[in-house]
Subunit: 163 residues, 6 copies
């Protein structure tokens, strides 16, 4: 029985990083969720009936970082040593009278491959959890501007957004 | 031993939907990823070394929809009967010479609670997977405008964005 | 080729509930964690460096309830409609000068089988998360008295502990 | 901004079963693992150092059945009410002096879609676990003949292999 | 657009262990489940209809150890090299005519952070699985005294309970 | 309270690899699925309604490799650095007029224990996904000959099937 080589499909594969060095690496991603000013106020006053929105969202984001390789098919399991998720908020003129929560997710560790996807996944799930907890009062919220701000370590070196 | 009631913490809880009716429900969410025009061309030509980007991203998005309740702490496990994830692309003047992929995720099923979070999670993970597969050539890509476009079914009825 | 029937091993199986009725069901479980009085005070003052212990623990407990069938091999996937996890605390004479947090997990829904394991799993993981967040200051904490307090619904009817 | 419809990729989607009826369904799959006669004897004598092979394999198989939708991208989450995994063994002339363990996985429940994949996944993971526990003494074992034997329920009706 | 720093929420984070050394580590935890003497006898006689209780519980416990980081939000993924779960039983006068199963979970490996939570999680899920398999005959069972007995390795050094 | 040592159960445990060296390791497994010639043609023509079968199957297989330790109870979490899943097809005389897809899964990385189970799990889930996507047109497909072809690294050295 001879098998013809099959060659014309997508060829998805997990990139070979065997020969790369284990180095210290870090990555920072951010994203925002835009909502009614009143919605932001209810979050900050901890009056959302589902609970303390930001702590629950942070817990969900940290848990999701660890599951990035389960969600993104071609990601490696990596050794993460630190996850920080922080919030900034804004609801004045500079945000056109919208309420805005900005999420920053910072990952540190050492591995043969970087943590960009872990940082971006942490931001995304944190934002989705905020949406979930507030959707009963503001279904029109919008998640925006999820992007890598910074990464360091590995052969491709440092990346700083906008530089 | 008498226990004082503890009352001043966040009180996160999964909302009680016991008394709601099982009804047909649907939800549609969208989001975009913005990239260099050249990056989009490489995707459309299926020349990304990690594989056929859109099929892998679609597979990841569908898988993530089913795991929404694992990612978002206060979501219920729901009975999803259909998931569709589709793509539109654009790279002309109307997108300021950026390459844009728009992801639409549609969920149908019947349950006591809606599928908004499932649709939004499907869009998010599809977009993250596109980012992952293309980041070696375009680290500055940005995920934007993740939002609920439509949902139907349940006591709160129909929602159409912008109406 | 004739195969002899193999019959002398453990025969683990997921019990057949096909013929049972879908009925409304509920379950309540409790458990405690015993610690130094000072540890409890630090939790209540929200001064644990890892974050707001009780909200994180509650989030973890609710998430774990949904994953009971992943952890306990012979449990069914069930339709849970409501999860509540609450805390009571005590640190006076009646607890022999120990600090005590009591966790109560209540599950409601409808299915062909009950939610006892979901309630007990929710209590266990909530308590483990409290341990995790405080272990840097009090490694001798002890988890105790995890038990079913009440369950209702299904053919076996109501159970109330101690009755 | 006008988006051209994108249409020439794989179009993976979870089939829409919204309009189908919830009916009683069942599925039976089988598969075998072929090994040295001596390996089978060590299993039956419960002398494998990793533990009681068949009970561990059965536990793994039942757990995997519940996770089929996590493994197979386009499978639905379904309501399984019963899982049975049983073993037959053979090591005489009729198996050409090989040791053979045959695994049968039976699923029952009710849903809008069938349990074929659940039965096949249960068989596969049970067989893989047997391989794992015995590979230290017999790396040449082979998994064979994983197939659907029977399924019933749903619009396509009954299927019996070989009929 | 200026964003005010947001600072007054729980600040949950995964502790930074980047600068710690990878060292050999171990942890031992124990816990018990208390039941009717008759229940214990049925387990030891392997007459529980759901299967061989202790082997299934052990399998569940080992699997849960590996998923500790999924259950406990702020735990790191760690490199576990060995898991042992053992049982001791007792049903005489010294246990006041109750049946008691004591579970001991021992973890070994090397990492930048310890395995206390993995050992405690292994004990908890092993005990919950015993409860699940026996609850049809003894709903009043109680899980007790889950605690860390020993841990070694890392900067904080050795801990032995009661010393 | 004295506890008699309990000793007569299965004693499943995750083998202790603490003292082994971290070495480069690789493993290759293969398996086939046998189907009607017409079914294979429909796959190759990308006319299966569920989508591009081979890319979806490959994505599922790669994802499953990373979850091997979740599926196989006594497997360790290992550091995988590369996963390749490739296809060969055949439908001529040499396969007795059946359509055959052969799946090869190759794993590379470095760890204290090998990747045999990861390669075998990758093959199995890839094959199951092909079955799932085509079962509507060919329920009689059969999965066959899943076996380890090669492994290298570690104390037991190189294994090549048939040598």
């Amino acid at each position: 029985m001879e098998l013809s080589h099959f060659d014309d499909m997508g060829n998805a594969h997990m990139v070979d990083v065997s020969e790369k060095e284990v180095t210290k690496r870090s990555a920072v991603a951010t994203g925002i969720i835009e909502m009614q000013r009143e919605t932001l106020q209810v979050i900050l006053d901890k009056k959302i009936s589902k609970g303390d929105v930001l702590t629950v969202a942070q817990t969900a984001g940290i848990s999701a970082v660890k599951r990035t390789w389960e969600l993104i098919p071609l990601c490696h399991i990596v050794m993460i040593r630190n996850v920080e998720i922080t919030f900034d908020t804004c609801s004045g003129e500079e945000s056109e009278n919208k309420g805005i929560i900005k999420v920053t997710c910072t990952i540190r560790g050492e591995d043969k491959t970087g943590f960009e996807m872990e940082a971006l996944t942490g931001v995304s799930v944190t934002l989705l959890t905020i949406y979930d907890m507030c959707k009963a009062i503001d279904r029109g919220m919008e998640i925006k501007n999820i992007r890598l701000e910074y990464k360091d370590g590995g052969k491709s070196g440092r990346f700083t957004r906008g530089k």
